[in-house]
C-alpha cells in the first residue's frame, strides 16, 4: 500500500517538478539559516557564521541530487529536460533534422504500409464475428494443390458427417451481381452473397437492425425469400432507415423481404464485400433454371467454413475432413474422384495465405532494408555530431555527470528524431498505401480490405520507432561517452575507434543499398523483358463479359447451343470485328481441370505418359480475337460436335514436348490422348491436332503455367463454370452495354454480366511485379541517395580531421594530385568493401526470388555489373568533392590551427 502510494507520488513529482524544486530550495536555505543562527549564537560574526554553516552542511547540490533521486524517477525526470533540449538542438540544425526525418519517414512508412496490407490480408480477425480463432475454412484440393470450392451436396455431406464442428456454413465464392429494381422503375446493380441460413449463427454475428438468418429459416429450395443488408449498403442506399426492415427488395425480378441489417463492418470472413446476403437455397429463384446448383454434385460453387468445437485443433479437424473427403471419393467416384477436402485456419483470402505471405515477406524485406539504410545513415551522422560535441561531453563528464545520464540524453535526441520520422512515416504510409492500391487493376466484384492505419498499425509503428531508435542511437551514444576526458579536452586528434565505427556504418549502408538496387534492377529487368517481349497475344481493344451459364440453370447439354446462339447474335452486332467465347485468357488465374494429356508415347521427363496442362475451352475465333498467330494448321471451324471427330489445337511448347524430333509444322494431323475429361472422367480419348499456335509467353505469380497450352472446342468439351464472351471491336469502342441488353433479351434470367477490358484481366498476373518494381525501385533510389550522403559525409569528415596532416604534406612538397588520390583512396575503399559485401549478399539473396524474375537469371550480369558501375560512379562523385576541398588546404593556415 505504502509502496504504491510512493510510486504514485514519484510519478506525480515528475510533473510537479518546479514546485518540488522550489520547496526543496526553500527547505535547504532554511536549514542553512538555522545553522548560521547556531554559529552566530556561539559568537561568530554573521559572515563567518554563514561560511561555517555552508561547511557544516556539506555539498548543497549533492544533497539536492540525492533528494531528487528519492523524490522521483530520475530517468523520467531527466527525460523531461532531455526532450526539449534535444528539440532545441535539432532546431539549430534543421537540415540534419529534416534529412534524418525524411529518410526515416520513408523507411518507417514503407514498413508500416506493408504491415497494414499484411494485417488486412493475413492477420486481422473478421469484424463482428465471435471467437474468430475457432473458425476455419474448408475447401477442396485437387492432387493436393489449390484450395477451391465444393458443391452444395458435398457441403451437406460434410455437415452431416463431421464431429469436429459446432457448426458448418457455406457461401458462394464470389458475390453475384444482381439487378435491384428501383422504386420508380429502372435497376441498379448490387452484389449478393448466397449463404446457408446458419451462416450468421455459426459466425456469431449480431444484427444492427431487425434480425439475421437463423434456425427459423427453411433450407428447402425456394422456401426463404429473405435478405439481410450490409451496414454499408443500408447506409448508402437507405440512409440507415430502420423502416426498411420488413420491406421488400426486388432482386433479379423476385421479391425478397428484408429481415435485418448486419452490424457495421461485418462482411463475413473474407475481403469480398457484399451488399446483401440471401439464403443460397434461393439460387433457383434469382436464376430460375439454376436449381441444378443445389442438386448437382459437380457444381462446385461454394466455399465452406466452420466453427471448431472447443478443444478441437485445426490438424484434428483436417484429419477428419481428409477422411470424409476420401469416403466421398469412394461413394461418388464420378464427381469427387480427384477431390480431397482440407481444413485451413481462417483467412480473409482462403487458400491464398501462403503465396500472399511470401510476396509480402519480399516487400517487407525490401522495406526493412531501406529502414536499415536510413538507420545506418543516421547512426553515422549521430556519430559525427557526437565527435563535434566531444568537448562538451568531456567537460560534462569532467564536471561529474554520470555516463548513463549522458547516454540517456543522447538517446533522447535520437528518439526525438525517430519520433519525428515515425510521425512523418505514418503520413507517408497513407499515401504509399493509396499509390499501391492505384496499381491494382479493377476487379469484377467489390473487395473491402480496410487499409486504414488502425490500432495494430500504430502499435507496430511505435514499436518499430523505439526499436530502431535504440538500435541506431545506442552505439553512437556509448561511443561518444567513452571519451577519454583528458585527451578530449586537449583536443587530441587521434580517435580511430570512432572513425572505424562510422566507416562500418557507411560500409553497411553501401552494402544494403547495393542489395536493394540489384533486386530493383532484377524486377525492372523482368518487367522490361515482359514489356519488350511479345506476349504472344494482343489484349488491347478486347473486351470481356463474364457469362455464368450453370448459375442460370444451363446444363452440359443446353449450355453449348445457347453459348453458340449468343455468339452468333454478338457477331452480328455492328462494330464487332471478332467475337468468341473462352473459359480463360492468358494471365488469368483460372486453371481448368480437364485431366491429363499424353503424347504418342511416354515422353514426359518423369516417365509418366500423362502430364497436366493449361487447358482452355474456346469457340472459333479465339486466336483471331487475341491475335495469336498460327504456326501451322487452322482454327476450329464451328462444326465440331459431340459426335464428330474430337479435335484439339496445341501450343508450340506442347508440340515440342510431345514430338521433340519433329518440326512443329508437321505435328498437325497427329493425335494426343486426354485422360479424364469433364464427361468421361475415368476414360481416355484421342484428340486429333488440327492446329499449332504460338504460346502466350506469360507466367503468373500465383500459379505458374505448365508451359503446355491445350485448346479444345467448347462444342465438344464444355466445362460447367464461368465463361467469357471475348469481343474485339473494329474501332476499340466498348460495347458491353449493347451485349448485356442483347443477352438479357435472349434470357432475362441470366445474371447481369460484369464487363472488363481484357488488358485488366491479363494484367492481373503482373500486379505483384508492378508492385515489386515500384516498391523496390523507388526505395532503391532512396537507399542510393542515402548511401551517397553517407559516403560523402564520412569522407569529408575524415578529410577535415586530416587537415593538419594534409597541410604538412603540402608544405613538404606533396602535389595536389597526390592529396586528391590519397583522400579518394580512403573514401573509395569503403565503397569497394561495401560493394563487395553488397554484391555477395545480393547474389546469395536473388536466387531465392528467382521465381519472380520471369527467366531473368538471378545473377543477371547486366543488373550486377550495372549496379556495381552505378555505385562506383556515385562513390567517386561523393568522394571527389571532399577530396577537391582537401587539395585546397592552405598549409600555413592548417599548421597554425591549434
Amino acid at each position: 500500500m505504502e509502496r504504491l502510494r510512493r510510486l504514485v507520488f514519484r510519478l506525480l513529482t515528475v510533473w510537479r517538478r518546479d514546485r518540488a524544486e522550489a520547496d526543496l530550495a526553500r527547505e535547504v536555505s532554511s536549514h542553512l539559516a538555522l545553522l548560521q543562527d547556531e554559529f552566530q549564537r556561539r559568537g561568530l560574526t554573521p559572515d563567518e557564521a554563514r561560511l561555517a554553516a555552508r561547511r557544516a552542511f556539506g555539498g548543497v547540490e549533492q544533497t539536492k541530487e540525492l533528494q531528487r533521486d528519492a523524490r522521483s524517477f530520475r530517468w523520467l525526470d531527466d527525460a523531461r529536460q532531455d526532450v526539449p533540449y534535444a528539440a532545441r538542438l535539432l532546431r539549430r540544425d534543421p537540415v540534419f533534422a529534416a534529412t534524418a526525418a525524411v529518410s526515416l519517414a520513408i523507411g518507417i512508412g514503407a514498413n508500416t504500409t506493408v504491415f497494414t496490407i499484411a494485417n488486412a490480408l493475413l492477420f486481422r480477425p473478421p469484424a463482428g464475428v465471435v471467437e474468430p480463432n475457432r473458425l476455419v475454412d474448408i475447401g477442396s484440393t485437387t492432387d493436393g494443390a489449390g484450395f477451391g470450392t465444393c458443391s452444395y451436396l458435398t457441403y451437406l455431406d460434410i455437415r452431416r458427417r463431421t464431429t469436429s464442428f459446432d457448426g458448418v456454413y457455406a457461401y458462394s465464392l464470389f458475390p453475384r451481381a444482381m439487378s435491384l429494381a428501383g422504386a420508380g422503375g429502372g435497376a441498379e446493380r448490387v452484389f449478393a452473397t448466397d449463404v446457408t441460413t446458419n451462416y450468421f449463427t455459426v459466425l456469431g454475428a449480431l444484427p444492427a437492425a431487425g434480425r439475421l438468418f437463423d434456425v427459423r429459416d427453411k433450407e428447402d429450395p425456394g422456401a426463404s425469400p429473405i435478405a439481410v443488408l450490409s451496414d454499408g449498403f443500408w447506409t448508402r442506399r437507405f440512409n440507415r432507415d430502420r423502416a426498411i426492415v420488413g420491406g421488400t427488395l426486388t432482386l433479379n425480378g423476385h421479391p425478397f423481404v428484408v429481415v435485418g441489417v448486419a452490424s457495421a463492418g461485418f462482411q463475413g470472413t473474407g475481403v469480398r464485400a457484399a451488399d446483401v446476403w440471401i439464403p443460397l437455397n434461393m439460387v433457383g429463384v434469382t436464376s430460375p433454371q439454376a436449381t441444378a446448383l443445389l442438386t448437382n454434385r459437380a457444381a462446385a460453387w461454394l466455399l465452406i467454413g466452420g466453427r471448431l468445437k472447443a478443444g478441437v485443433s485445426v490438424p484434428q479437424a483436417d484429419a477428419e475432413m481428409n477422411a470424409i473427403g476420401r469416403t466421398l471419393q469412394r461413394e461418388y467416384p464420378d464427381q469427387n474422384r480427384t477431390t480431397d477436402l482440407r481444413v485451413l485456419a481462417l483467412s480473409p483470402v482462403p487458400g491464398n495465405s501462403a503465396p500472399i505471405a511470401a510476396f509480402l515477406a519480399v516487400l517487407m524485406g525490401i522495406a526493412s532494408v531501406v529502414l536499415a539504410i536510413a538507420c545506418a545513415n543516421l547512426a553515422g551522422v549521430l556519430l559525427a555530431r557526437a565527435a563535434v560535441r566531444r568537448r562538451e561531453i568531456a567537460v560534462r563528464l569532467a564536471m561529474g555527470a554520470g555516463r548513463a545520464r549522458l547516454v540517456r540524453q543522447l538517446l533522447a535526441e535520437t528518439l526525438t528524431i525517430f519520433a519525428l520520422g515515425g510521425a512523418a512515416g505514418l503520413l507517408a504510409a497513407r499515401s504509399m498505401t493509396s499509390v499501391l492500391v492505384s496499381l491494382l487493376p479493377a476487379l469484377p466484384f467489390p473487395v473491402n480490405a480496410s487499409l486504414a492505419l488502425d490500432g495494430p498499425a500504430l502499435v507496430f509503428t511505435t514499436g518499430l520507432v523505439l526499436l530502431t531508435a535504440l538500435a541506431s542511437g545506442l552505439a553512437p551514444a556509448l561511443q561518444a561517452t567513452k571519451t577519454d576526458v583528458v585527451s578530449a579536452l586537449k583536443d587530441d586528434a587521434r580517435v580511430p575507434a570512432r572513425l572505424r565505427l562510422r566507416q562500418a556504418f557507411v560500409i553497411a549502408q553501401v552494402a544494403l543499398s547495393i542489395l536493394l538496387v540489384v533486386i530493383a534492377g532484377l524486377f525492372a529487368r523482368a518487367l522490361q523483358r515482359m514489356g519488350s517481349m511479345d506476349p504472344g497475344f494482343d489484349a488491347h481493344g478486347v473486351e470481356l463479359l463474364s457469362l455464368d451459364l450453370p448459375l442460370a440453370g444451363y446444363t452440359e447439354t443446353t449450355a453449348p447451343p445457347f453459348a453458340r446462339a449468343v455468339l452468333d447474335r454478338v457477331r452480328r452486332l455492328p462494330a464487332v470485328q471478332v467475337a468468341t467465347i473462352a473459359a480463360a485468357l492468358p494471365g488469368g488465374f483460372e486453371r481448368l481441370g480437364l485431366g491429363g494429356i499424353g503424347g504418342p508415347r511416354a515422353s514426359a521427363p518423369n516417365g509418366q505418359r500423362f502430364v497436366s496442362a493449361d487447358w482452355n475451352v474456346v469457340e472459333p475465333g479465339y486466336f483471331a480475337a487475341l491475335r495469336i498467330p498460327f504456326v501451322a494448321g487452322r482454327d476450329f471451324d464451328g462444326a465440331e460436335r459431340e459426335e464428330t471427330e474430337q479435335v484439339v489445337i496445341i501450343g508450340e511448347g506442347a508440340a515440342r514436348r510431345f514430338w521433340p524430333d519433329k518440326p512443329t509444322r508437321s505435328v498437325v494431323g497427329e493425335s494426343v490422348v486426354q485422360r479424364g475429361g469433364p464427361r468421361t472422367p475415368a476414360q481416355t480419348r484421342t484428340l486429333r491436332v488440327i492446329g499449332v499456335v504460338r504460346d502466350p509467353r506469360y507466367g503468373t505469380l500465383v500459379e505458374g503455367t505448365t508451359g503446355l497450352y491445350i485448346y479444345v472446342p467448347l462444342q465438344q468439351q464444355y466445362v460447367p463454370g464461368r465463361t467469357m464472351i471475348v469481343v474485339r471491336t473494329t474501332d476499340g469502342r466498348r460495347i458491353a452495354d449493347t451485349i448485356r441488353a442483347l443477352v438479357a433479351s435472349m434470357d432475362p434470367s441470366l445474371p447481369m454480366l460484369t464487363a472488363q477490358a481484357a488488358e485488366e484481366y491479363t494484367a492481373l498476373g503482373l500486379v505483384p511485379h508492378r508492385v515489386a518494381v515500384s516498391v523496390s525501385g523507388s526505395l532503391g533510389l532512396v537507399g542510393l541517395l542515402l548511401a551517397a550522403i553517407g559516403i560523402y559525409g564520412v569522407t569529408a569528415y575524415a578529410a577535415t580531421r586530416r587537415t593538419r596532416e594534409i597541410g604538412i604534406r603540402i608544405a613538404l612538397g606533396a602535389r595536389r594530385g597526390d592529396v586528391l588520390r590519397m583522400v579518394l583512396r580512403q573514401g573509395l575503399r569503403l565503397v569497394l568493401v561495401g560493394s563487395a559485401i553488397g554484391l555477395a549478399f545480393a547474389a546469395a539473396t536473388s536466387p531465392l526470388l528467382a521465381g519472380l524474375f520471369f527467366g531473368v537469371p538471378p545473377l543477371d550480369p547486366v543488373t550486377f555489373i550495372g549496379t556495381a558501375a552505378l555505385f562506383a560512379a556515385i562513390g567517386l562523385a561523393a568522394c571527389y568533392l571532399p577530396a577537391r576541398r582537401a587539395t585546397r588546404v592552405d598549409p600555413m593556415q592548417a599548421l597554425r590551427y591549434e
Binding site: 505504502e2 509502496r3 502510494r5 510512493r6 507520488f9 514519484r10 520547496d23 526543496l24 526553500r26 527547505e27 535547504v28 532554511s30 536549514h31 539559516a33 538555522l34 545553522l35 543562527d37 547556531e38 552542511f57 556539506g58 555539498g59 549533492q62 544533497t63 539536492k64 541530487e65 540525492l66 533528494q67 533521486d69 528519492a70 523524490r71 561529474g400
Partner: protein, 115 residues
C-alpha cells in the same frame, strides 16, 4: 569521493528511515536541521550523517504517508519545514521497530555464536 559517500548511504539505508521516525515520535515535530542536530547529539562518536541522505529519507517517508511536512516559524522567527509523524507512521514505526529488534537479535546471536 563520490563512491565514499555512496558507501555511507548504503550503510544507513533503511535504518535511517526508522531512526528518523523514532526521533519524530519522541521529540514531536522537527525540521531537518533539528533532526540532524538531534542525531549527531545522540550518537556517541561523530555521526557520519550526510544531509543528502537525510533529505532523501524525509521525502521517502513523506511519500509513504508516514510523516507530514508543514511550513512554520521557529522560535527565532525563521521559516522551517516541520515534519510530524502521522498515525500511519506511528503504526509503521511499531512494526518496523519490532522487525528491527528481531533482525538485530538474530544477527547478534549469529555473530556471537561464531566467536
Amino acid at each position: 569521493m563520490a563512491s565514499e559517500s555512496r558507501d555511507r548511504v548504503e550503510l544507513l539505508q533503511g535504518t535511517l528511515d526508522l531512526i528518523v521516525l523514532r526521533a519524530l515520535s519522541t521529540m514531536g515535530p522537527q525540521h531537518a536541521y533539528g533532526l540532524a542536530a538531534r542525531l549527531e547529539q545522540v550518537a556517541d562518536h561523530p555521526f557520519p550523517l550526510n544531509q543528502g541522505t537525510l533529505y532523501a529519507a524525509l521525502v521517502r517517508l513523506d511519500q509513504q504517508g508516514w510523516i507530514k511536512g508543514t511550513w512554520r516559524k521557529t522560535e527565532n522567527n525563521r521559516d522551517a519545514k516541520y515534519y510530524a509523524i502521522t498515525r500511519a507512521g506511528a503504526r509503521a514505526l511499531e512494526k518496523q521497530t519490532d522487525r528491527w529488534r528481531r533482525l538485530a537479535g538474530l544477527v547478534n546471536k549469529l555473530l556471537l555464536q561464531g566467536s
